[in-house]
């Protein structure tokens, strides 16, 4: 957690320090569990068409890429909405560390795009406006489908088995990407670029979970510790 966050209506974190979803096409296996988890969380049923996160799959080239809401500073979807059904969460929710006031999961984290289902007319202007295709319409109700970050504890992130979707602050994410890139450019056999790179960078789930809990401090550990390669056992 970034230290400049003051919680409870104090100074707002800068956009770069806001928590948002970050994705990796290298780590995504294309399993679509994030979509199903999203529908289960929001609709209480199993399906995938009503998901607020969508995985793009191109099977012939092996591409899997989760499309998520980017929490734009100037969100085109909000600007495009003709009936002001879309807005942004401008105030911070309670800080998770504030034990006296546990976080309210119904209250979206700062920067999240909020949909008023009462105002939404299902016109699809937000779908046209979003440059990522992250906004969609609900297959049954026809109203806008917009990621609300599950009140700061995204169901998609919780169910992702490989850490392909991470919820964290952009500043830290950017630093990690820089360092990862720098190491891949390095000739070290442990961080080789290209094809077997993905296999080597694949973290164990245990390690990923610890990263998620303590993202900033340990974000650098997993790309380098892939020296032991497992051997096939009986059975």
């Amino acid at each position: 957690m970034s230290t400049e966050r003051s919680g409870n209506g104090g100074d707002l974190p800068a956009p770069w320090a806001r928590e948002r979803l970050h994705v990796s096409a290298d780590l995504c296996t294309g399993c679509r569990a994030c979509e199903v988890a999203c529908v289960a969380q929001h609709e209480g049923v199993f399906g995938r068409a009503a998901a607020r996160i969508k995985v793009v799959k191109k099977e012939p080239i092996g591409l899997d890429y989760p499309t998520v809401c980017r929490l734009c500073v100037h969100p085109p979807c909000v600007e495009a909405c003709p009936v002001e059904a879309l807005g942004r969460q401008e105030t911070d929710r309670q800080h998770p560390a504030d034990k006296q006031h546990p976080p309210d999961c119904d209250s979206p984290p700062i920067g999240a795009v909020i949909l008023s289902e009462e105002k939404c007319i299902g016109c699809g202007a937000c779908v046209e406006a979003c440059p990522f295709g992250a906004a969609d319409l609900h297959p049954q109700t026809g109203l806008a489908l917009i990621c609300d970050l599950c009140g700061g504890d995204p169901a998609c992130v919780k169910r992702c088995a490989t850490g392909a979707i991470i919820y964290g602050e952009s500043g830290l994410q950017a630093r990690q990407r820089r360092e990862e890139r720098a190491m891949r450019a390095n000739a070290s056999p442990l961080a080789r670029p290209g094809r077997s790179g993905a296999a080597q960078r694949m973290p164990s789930i245990r390690r990923m979970q610890s990263i998620r809990m303590d993202f900033g401090a340990r974000g650098l550990e997993w790309p380098v510790n892939r020296d032991e390669r497992p051997r096939g056992g009986a059975g």
Binding site: R32, E43, F46, A49, P60, D64, A161, A199, G232, G233
Partner: protein
């Protein structure tokens, strides 16, 4: 019914009628879905001795109970019909994304009857179902057809199950392929589909379904995730999937080297899952909602095969086109697998047919002239690739191999009795289905499982991985004898196979993966019942789950008994039963498969007649199968 799509879709291709039928809640409680529901319908709606290629045969797609939920790998669909390859039960199963999409469209089962008068494909978009012309897709391979349909329908998320040219040309072991590389390949289900003039089934489902208790269900799934993440097999499976078995089985001495002539392979390291991941893997891939990305996307950097990239392969095709045919060229094997996939064939059957021809040549039973002048030396890459093409198009010598190894041996073996016998003895099949990529002499429960399997010799009907455990205490607790936990011992294996057959039947009917359910054993009967209670709301016990598995296995036995199958058909080639594993087979050297005592024990455990191998009246009454 909670956790189900709720409808069955019946399509008659002859008169082009399409009906929705409601799912019978009483029936799914007794048979779950997927394989169980399919075999029940096949038993009741298709008369005995129906020819696999006849319009009277039904092709069934069944989706399991847990498919489409967050159950890790709840992805699988079963394709069932009378088999044109074996003449008995045809049934095969695949993962990927087709099964969940069919369920989201609202269907638990798809029934395809009759035969269209021209090539068509079926397009299911929720309630909108239509037959569309497919003349432009006929002659296209699996990849081309899949992508052409997606392009035509304007949606890359459309899930397509299609056949390739092999099925169109009547190769009797052609499969139904979903997601380009995920085949329901065994027993010729693609051949049945093409015989109906049906090129593909395309589906898009935008619906959703409830479970009885979502909170409880999700709690159980989170617990299950933890079991999987902390399982000792998690890491190796994540990196290599089943391809790790090349080196594992090499060290045990039960690889099918050069058509089961030795249990170790000198080129094992070069063609291992480890080497494959190291050289060609670019990322991990997974089936629907699975937490184990055991599949891999490969980019093969080899000037001989420009642009070769693919998902997979699993151990079976990998070992088939390397160890079994004596080839240590990994890139060539991947090219072979890719071609077999695109033409749409069963890699086990195909690699057996090629290896069979090579051994016939080795023993002087087949001349070069008879084989279109091909060099049938072990591991000859050009021959392997040429034969794949020839089989898929039924050209020349390929035509002889296109009906499966049993019929190939019958055709090739015409002549003096002694010659015919020599040829037939080296055709590695059980009930007309080709044996998998491991030597049953070194893994005896698998041997028994292959011999008794209801769809012909196949490991996935039981997958009795307990015999690798070496856990004598657990063996005594479960099966009464310590030997059950040791692969080279034969005692107790009848009970092991009975247990694992029922697990496999449950896995296939829930639509979950046997990697987790049978091999990693992430759920026992009681835990399965608990999950089913949360999903469906049924008041179901662990014992009842076991009973469902037993019921399905017994019904399948009844079905194949109607085709004349008895104990004498529950057997394997003579090599496994009489010839000891040759020198150079590591710890398996000298071992044979003691099939007869294991069969006795198996029928006893099943409550079947030991003499005939058929279910007794008492057993059928007990399972409610006596009508």
């Amino acid at each position: 019914v909670n956790a189900y799509g709720g409808a069955v879709l019946r399509v008659n291709l002859t008169d082009r009628t399409i009906h929705q039928e409601p799912l019978d809640p009483d029936v799914v409680r007794l048979y779950l879905g997927g394989r169980g529901l399919n075999v029940l319908r096949l038993y009741h709606e298709v008369p005995p001795h129906t020819d696999g290629l006849s319009p009277d045969n039904e092709l069934l797609f069944g989706v399991g109970t847990l498919v489409g939920t967050l159950f890790p790998g709840g992805a699988r669909f079963n394709v069932t019909a009378m088999s044109p390859q074996t003449g008995i039960l045809g049934d095969s199963n695949a993962g990927g994304f087709f099964g969940p999409e069919l369920k989201f469209a609202g269907y638990d089962q798809l029934i395809l009857e009759g035969r269209a008068d021209e090539p068509v494909y079926l397009w299911i978009a929720d309630d909108q179902v239509e037959l569309r012309p497919a003349a432009h897709l006929w002659g296209r391979d699996v990849w081309e057809a899949t992508e052409a349909i997606r392009h035509e329908l304007g949606d890359s998320d459309v899930q397509v199950a299609t056949v390739g040219q092999a099925a169109e040309n009547g190769v009797r072991y052609a499969g139904v392929f979903a997601n380009l590389n995920r085949p329901a390949a065994r027993t010729g289900m693609g051949t049945v589909m093409a015989a109906k003039n049906l090129k593909a089934v395309a589906v898009r489902g935008t619906g959703a379904f409830p479970v009885a208790d979502m909170d409880r269900f999700m709690e159980l799934i989170h617990q299950l995730d933890e079991v999987i993440y902390s399982h000792r097999e998690y890491e190796p499976r994540m990196h290599m999937g089943t391809t790790r078995l090349v080196l594992a089985l090499n060290s045990l001495g039960c690889l099918p080297t050069r058509h089961f002539q030795q249990g170790t392979f000198e080129g094992a390291q070069a063609v291992s899952g480890e080497t494959l991941a190291e050289r060609f893997k670019v990322k991990g891939k997974a089936c629907f909602a699975c937490t184990i990305p055991c599949s891999r996307f490969l980019v093969v950097d080899d000037v001989r095969f420009p642009g070769l990239r693919m998902e997979g392969p699993e151990y079976e095709p990998l070992a088939g086109f390397t160890v079994r045919v004596g080839n240590d060229d990994l890139a060539l094997a991947l090219e072979a697998i890719d071609r077999a996939n695109r033409y749409g064939m069963d890699a086990i059957a195909l690699s057996e047919c090629i290896a069979f021809a090579m051994e016939c040549c080795q023993r002087g039973l087949l001349s070069r002239q008879e084989a279109d002048g091909l060099d049938l030396s072990w591991g000859d890459g050009e021959t392997i690739l040429t034969l794949i093409h020839k089989v898929a198009h039924r050209e020349g010598f390929g035509d002889l191999l296109a009906d499966g190894v049993k019929k190939a041996a019958e055709r090739l073996g015409q002549g003096p009795t002694e010659f015919a016998q020599s040829v037939e003895e080296i055709a590695m099949h059980g009930k007309g289905l080709e044996v998998f990529q491991a030597d049953p002499r070194g893994i005896k429960a698998y041997g028994l499982g292959n011999a008794v399997a209801s769809r012909g010799a196949d490991h996935l009907r039981s997958e009795p991985s307990f015999e690798f455990s070496e856990d004598a205490e657990e063996a005594v607790r479960r099966y009464g004898v310590p030997d059950a936990a040791f692969r080279l011992k034969h005692r107790g294996k009848g009970r092991v196979v009975k247990h694992y057959e029922e697990m496999a039947a449950i896995a296939d009917s829930l639509g979950v993966c046997k990697n987790t359910y049978n091999n990693m054993e992430v759920l026992d009967w009681e835990a399965t019942a608990e999950l089913l209670r949360a999903a469906t709301g049924w008041d179901m016990s662990g014992e009842e789950v076991q009973r469902i598995g037993e019921r399905i296995v017994n019904l399948e036995r009844l079905l194949i008994a109607g085709e004349g199958i008895t104990r004498r058909d529950d057997t394997l080639p003579k090599r496994f039963l009489e010839e000891p594993m040759p020198e150079g087979s590591g710890p398996s050297t000298g071992s044979v498969l003691e099939l007869e005592p294991m069969l006795d024990e198996y029928y006893c455990a099943r409550g079947w007649d030991v003499r005939t191998g058929l279910p007794t009246k008492q057993k059928l009454e007990e399972l409610g199968l006596d009508e």
